[in-house]
């Protein structure tokens, strides 16, 4: 009887007010849906992932080329639609180097490019190299699509490896702050951050062929890339471990693992998500660098980095070899950066942006 009289008025108020409770993830979603830039970035990201996933289908049905088919008769050829305009552009460049740029050439460049593009749109698969061919006569666009499969895979793997390691190390050193465990983790971080890591990566990848597969390279990049996360988490946990709820659950006899994974980790999960996303971008860029130097993904596999490595001798004659993979990288990492940036705001949904 007494219970009823106590609960009834509350229910009444709830029914009257009709306030819909907003959960954390609900708030995150609401904020994200209002953020047009992030939505566009997510769209771009999905597009990049989709075209790389669909690379075999696109290559076969739309482009009509195989990424490893070499044809030495068409080495370093310009895009098919620019067959006529490319020599004109080179002539223009030569006049510029001599002093006076011959701007009148551009009329011809534009009209012949347009005509070429029209022809290319009408051509059957396998007749038009949209972005030219490389030094072995392979279609650059096809290789770019296939390369994305490897580059994106490496990005995801590296983020997974470095996040797992970094979160684990960060949790441990944050939990055991100012004890010998923390000292050990700090010593490892200090060692890794005072030797030239790029040198070490190159030595390891150059010496052991294991590290030249996508999985091996990701492992290598991952185990040398976790220090930032660990340091960040450690700093965050420093304040979290002093909170009352940690003390409360410790008083209730919670184990270390429960404390770390049930109480500490969820409180830093938003940071982890954001850092993981940025990690994918930096891994893609790092892979490109290593493969460009010839110590990453090796031929015949295509990756965005190694597509450029063959271009060093001929980049002025065949700039599409440099441009194509670079633009792929640019679009992908731009999407990732913007998504990461948007998520960072969205995962703090209660804070109003000014």
């Amino acid at each position: 009887m007494a219970e009823q009289s106590l609960t009834l008025p509350q229910q009444k108020i709830k029914a009257q007010a009709q306030v819909k409770e907003l959960t954390y993830w609900g708030a995150v979603r609401r904020k994200l849906l209002r953020d047009r830039i992030t939505l566009a970035a997510i769209g771009l990201g999905i597009f990049m992932v989709a075209i790389t996933l669909a690379a075999p289908w696109i290559a076969e049905n739309i482009l009509g080329f195989d990424p490893t088919d070499t044809n030495l008769r068409i080495r370093n050829k310009p895009p098919t639609w620019a067959t006529e305009s490319w020599p004109m552009f080179q002539e223009f460049a030569t006049t510029c180097q001599r002093g006076g740029c011959e701007w009148s050439l551009w009329g011809g460049i534009f009209s012949s490019s347009a005509a070429g593009l029209r022809e290319c749109f009408a051509a059957a698969p396998g007749e038009c190299h949209w972005l030219g061919t490389d030094d072995a006569g392979r279609d650059v666009l096809t290789r770019g699509l296939y390369g994305g499969r490897i580059s994106l895979r490496i990005g995801a793997y590296v983020a997974a490896v470095s996040m797992t390691l970094g979160v684990f190390m960060g949790l441990i050193s944050g939990y055991y702050a100012a004890t010998w465990v923390d000292d050990v983790v700090n010593a490892i971080i200090m060692t890794l951050s005072s030797i030239p890591l790029l040198f070490l990566l190159i030595i390891l990848a150059g010496t052991f062929p294991v590290f030249r597969s996508p999985e091996g390279l990701s492992f290598l990049l991952g185990i040398f890339g976790w220090m930032g996360v660990s340091r960040l988490l450690r700093g965050q946990l420093f304040s979290i471990r002093e909170r009352e709820y940690i003390l409360a659950s410790r008083a209730m006899g919670a184990s270390i693992w429960r404390l770390m994974f049930r109480h500490m980790l969820p409180n830093v999960s938003s940071i982890i998500i954001v850092v993981a996303i940025f990690d994918i971008a930096s891994a893609i860029i790092a892979e490109a660098g290593l493969s460009f130097l010839g110590v990453g993904i090796g031929p015949p596999n295509a990756s965005w980095g190694n597509m450029m490595s063959g271009s060093l001798g001929s980049f002025t004659k065949a700039p599409w070899l440099v441009l194509t993979p670079g633009i792929f990288i640019f679009l992908t990492t731009l999407a990732i950066y913007l998504i990461g940036d948007g998520l960072r705001d969205a995962l703090d949904p209660w804070i109003k942006n000014e």
């Binding site: 200090m190 005072s194 002025t316």
Partner: protein, 345 residues
């Protein structure tokens, strides 16, 4: 203070030792052994292999090899266990150990001492790194200050957006693009190298330096301006800045004397990574611009499996990196009187 320096010095020494250990482990674990490069020559036989193993002393126990690589082989007993074949045949050719700056002889560069091969390329790397550093400080500091003072305005947003955009591509790729466009099509800058053969004039060298140094400075512009903007904004909110304004100082004086001087402190710590950054950057930028420095030598050595040069570069690089961090730490304690090192949190 002294205790702090001594402790840091011991730590640094330990780090460099660790780097030698890492280098040596890789060398020993290399598939096919350290003289695998012989496989590239189809005429080599197993007799050649054994002969070279003896000459380079690769048939000795691994710890012995490590010790003699570190400390030289001219002091232990003169027998087959301790000395390499080369050393036994001719005592003048004994390895003197990396502590005496003898990193062995290069496999690839016709048996030249590895240290000579490296020293030849040091000036090129330092020229490029130093020029990049100067450009990045000259560009990054004003950018950061300007962005902080105009917070939330167009300039601030513009700087932020452009730094994000530049960070979405590899900086060496930007270098490659600029090289194609400015060098290849407009002919404004040379396409490769440090100077035109036969013309070593200062102007010619500067002409070759300008693009690599600018591209090398991009990372610095972004990093420095970001750190400085953040620090400036922190300091601008301090009470003493309000006091300085309240007592009627001109804005210029407030910014220069009160804000910048305090904001620059954490910036100095950011400099500690500069050696490592310069070394790492050197590998990619020197490859792109065909710059004859240590970075490109490193890639050549790795591709030729030239272990003496490779290991030497790694150890020297680690030494420089550790030294840089140590120097900045010590410098920092002198610059900022508030830092007390003997109190550990």
């Amino acid at each position: 203070m002294t205790r702090y320096i001594v402790r840091r010095a011991i730590q640094s020494f330990f780090l460099v030792w660790l780097a030698t250990l890492i280098a040596f482990t890789v060398y020993q674990l290399a598939p096919g052994g350290p003289i695998q490069f012989l496989d590239d020559d189809p005429t080599s036989t197993s007799a050649d292999f054994n002969r070279l193993n003896r000459i380079y002393g690769l048939d000795r126990p691994v710890p012995v090899q490590y010790i003699t690589w570190l400390a030289g082989e001219d002091w232990p007993p003169a027998n087959e266990t301790w000395r390499s074949g080369r050393c036994l045949n001719n005592p003048d050719r004994c390895g003197r150990g990396i502590i005496r700056l003898d990193f062995g002889r290069s496999f690839f560069f016709k048996g030249q001492p590895a240290i000579d091969v490296i020293l030849e390329r040091v000036p090129a790397t330092f020229t490029l790194a130093f020029a990049s550093l100067i450009l990045s400080v000259l560009g990054g500091v004003p950018l950061g200050v300007y962005a902080a003072l105009h917070r939330g305005k167009f300039a601030d947003h513009f700087i932020r957006v452009s730094t994000v955009l530049v960070n979405t591509v590899p900086h060496w790729w930007l270098g490659l693009l600029l090289l194609i466009f400015l060098g290849g099509y407009l002919g404004l800058v040379p396409l490769s190298g440090m100077y035109t053969v036969g013309d070593g004039s200062l102007l010619d060298r500067l002409h070759h330096l300008i693009l690599p140094a600018t591209v090398g400075a991009i990372g610095g512009w972004i990093g420095f301006s970001r750190i400085l903007r953040f620090e400036m904004l922190e300091v601008l909110n301090q009470d003493y800045v309000r006091t300085a304004r309240a007592k009627g100082l001109t804005e210029r004086l407030v910014v220069w004397r009160h804000v910048l001087r305090n904001a620059i402190m954490p910036f100095v710590t950011g400099l500690s990574g500069i050696f490592l950054l310069a070394l790492s950057g050197s590998v990619l930028f020197e490859t792109v611009f065909s710059w004859p420095g240590m970075g490109r030598l490193f890639i050549t050595a790795v591709n030729a499996r030239d272990f003496p040069v490779m290991m030497a570069l790694f150890v020297i690089g680690s030494f420089l990196g550790v030294l840089g961090v140590l120097m900045v730490d010590i410098l920092y304690s002198f610059v900022d009187p508030r830092v007390k090192y003997d109190i550990v949190k």
